[in-house]
Amino acid sequence: MAASEEASRPFAGLSDVSISEDIPVEGDISVPVGPSRRDDEFSTLDEPVKDTIMRDLRAVGNKFIHVLYPKRSSALLRDWDLWGPLLLCVTLALLLQGGAADHEDQGGPQFAEVFVIVWFGSIIITLNSKLLGGTISFFQSLCVLGYCIMPLTVAMVVCRIVLLVSSGVIIFAVRLVVVMASFGWSTFASTAFLADSQPPNRKALVVYPVFLFYFVIAWMVLTYSP
């Protein structure tokens, strides 16, 4: 009691001070500790590694499905990522190895050549469409072009399986049909995304390089010889 009297003595002179009631006095006197509560939902530091990987894998798989059924959805464009194109490019380059690899100067494309053609081809086509006044961004275009290689990679897998059986003329005809169908599919799927971002009098100028790009990849797939 004495302590409380002593404690209140410094404020003795203030006993007649009053605060008028129409001035709002409010606030939060709690001190924020660490990141604010809003960021906890997006912080991926605490979640298990499996969740992080599965989220990216699910996004990549979702985009593969969008390439299979090329409707005009914006999933490929809005959330671009380059994991899918990298995976497809590496798979395609690896599958193109092992054929005529013993004669290096007369054989098929080397691993580095496939990589260079796919990535530099995509970059050049993207620059081309941007210089022609396209509204699609750089990485979105790379994402679309890379994901649309998927039908040709599937065709490569089919070709290699079929070539295990034999390598006659009928097998070649089968491979030709498969490769041509997947080439048409790739070109159609990518132009469905890319050509919309161009003014109408330049659509042909943008579509032709894409056609050439997938034609060259289709040629590499078709001429693979064990």
Binding site: H103, D105, Q106, P109, S225
Partner: protein, 278 residues
């Protein structure tokens, strides 16, 4: 003079009045796009044009017209003056060169396959290294020769009596478009008849050579006789070298397959073994 504030404000109003009176008018930026050019978007039109300048404001029909002009040269029509009209683009030359690289490499591979098809010991090879070689040769020709020619013409124009030279982009452009005729020629070279190939080479060289000569002769003819003739002859000779070199390297007939082929030695072994076993 009026105070600086009034001056600035007046200019802005005048421009805005002009544009609002005729929204479809092309502004100085010459964007050529279909959007009405208000002052709000003039800024971004200019920005787009700065990056579009290298490709020009090409429409598909203009590029097609230039390609057609390169295939059908007419004596009165200077390619640069008639088709380019101070609007050179890099789209045509670049993509024509890329297409030519792949068409020469792929057609060469197909022609080798057709020639050797009757040969049982022949194992098909994609010969992908040819793409690299074709790319180096064709891009060097399409860029280094115009640089040299433009440099030479500019030097002569500055030093001597030539009037009206061409800009660097125009020179590159006309060389790029003149290479277009080789694309169908290389595809037709798949047919394995030598006389047909030489005939096709002659036709292609005449057409694309005449495009180049018709373009550069008016500029050069005011110079001394020797220089003028020497320049035109050099242009034609380099063009010939490219065509004949491509034909000889990529499209080899059965008699002239290179001995560096490792399959040729195995071929000998196979045939000798077959003879021995018989």
């Amino acid at each position: 003079m009026a105070s600086p504030n009034n001056l600035q404000f007046q200019e802005f109003e005048e421009a805005a009045e002009l544009l609002s009176a005729d929204p479809g008018a092309s502004t100085l930026s010459m964007s050529g796009s279909n959007t009405p050019s208000t002052t709000a978007s003039a800024g971004e039109d200019v920005k787009l044009d700065l990056s579009e300048d290298e490709e020009g404001q090409q429409e598909s029909s203009e590029v097609l017209d230039r390609v057609k002009g390169s295939v059908m040269p007419q004596p009165g029509r200077n390619f640069i003056k008639y088709y380019l009209r101070s609007n050179p683009d890099l789209y045509g030359p670049f993509w024509i060169c890329v297409t030519l690289v792949f068409s020469v490499a792929i057609s060469g591979n197909l022609s080798t396959f057709l020639v050797e098809r009757g040969n049982p010991a022949f194992h098909y090879r994609p010969q992908f290294h040819r793409v690299t070689i074709a790319a180096v040769v064709i891009f060097m020709y399409a860029w280094l020769v115009p640089i040299g020619l433009w440099g030479f013409l500019t030097w002569r124009q500055g030093a001597e009596r030539q009037i009206g030279g061409y800009s660097f982009l125009e020179t590159v452009c006309v060389y790029g478009y003149s290479l277009f005729i080789y694309i169908p020629t290389s595809v037709l070279w798949i047919i394995p008849y030598d006389w047909l190939r030489w005939t096709l080479i002659l036709i292609a060289m005449v057409i694309s050579g005449s495009v180049l000569v018709l373009t550069f002769w008016p500029v050069v003819r005011d110079d001394t006789k020797v220089t003028a003739v020497a320049t035109v002859v050099t242009i034609v000779v380099l063009h010939t070298l490219l065509a004949v070199g491509c034909k000889l390297y990529f499209f080899q007939t059965a008699a002239s397959t290179p001995t560096a082929l490792p399959t040729s030695s195995t071929l000998h072994n196979h045939t000798t073994l077959a003879v021995k076993t018989n």
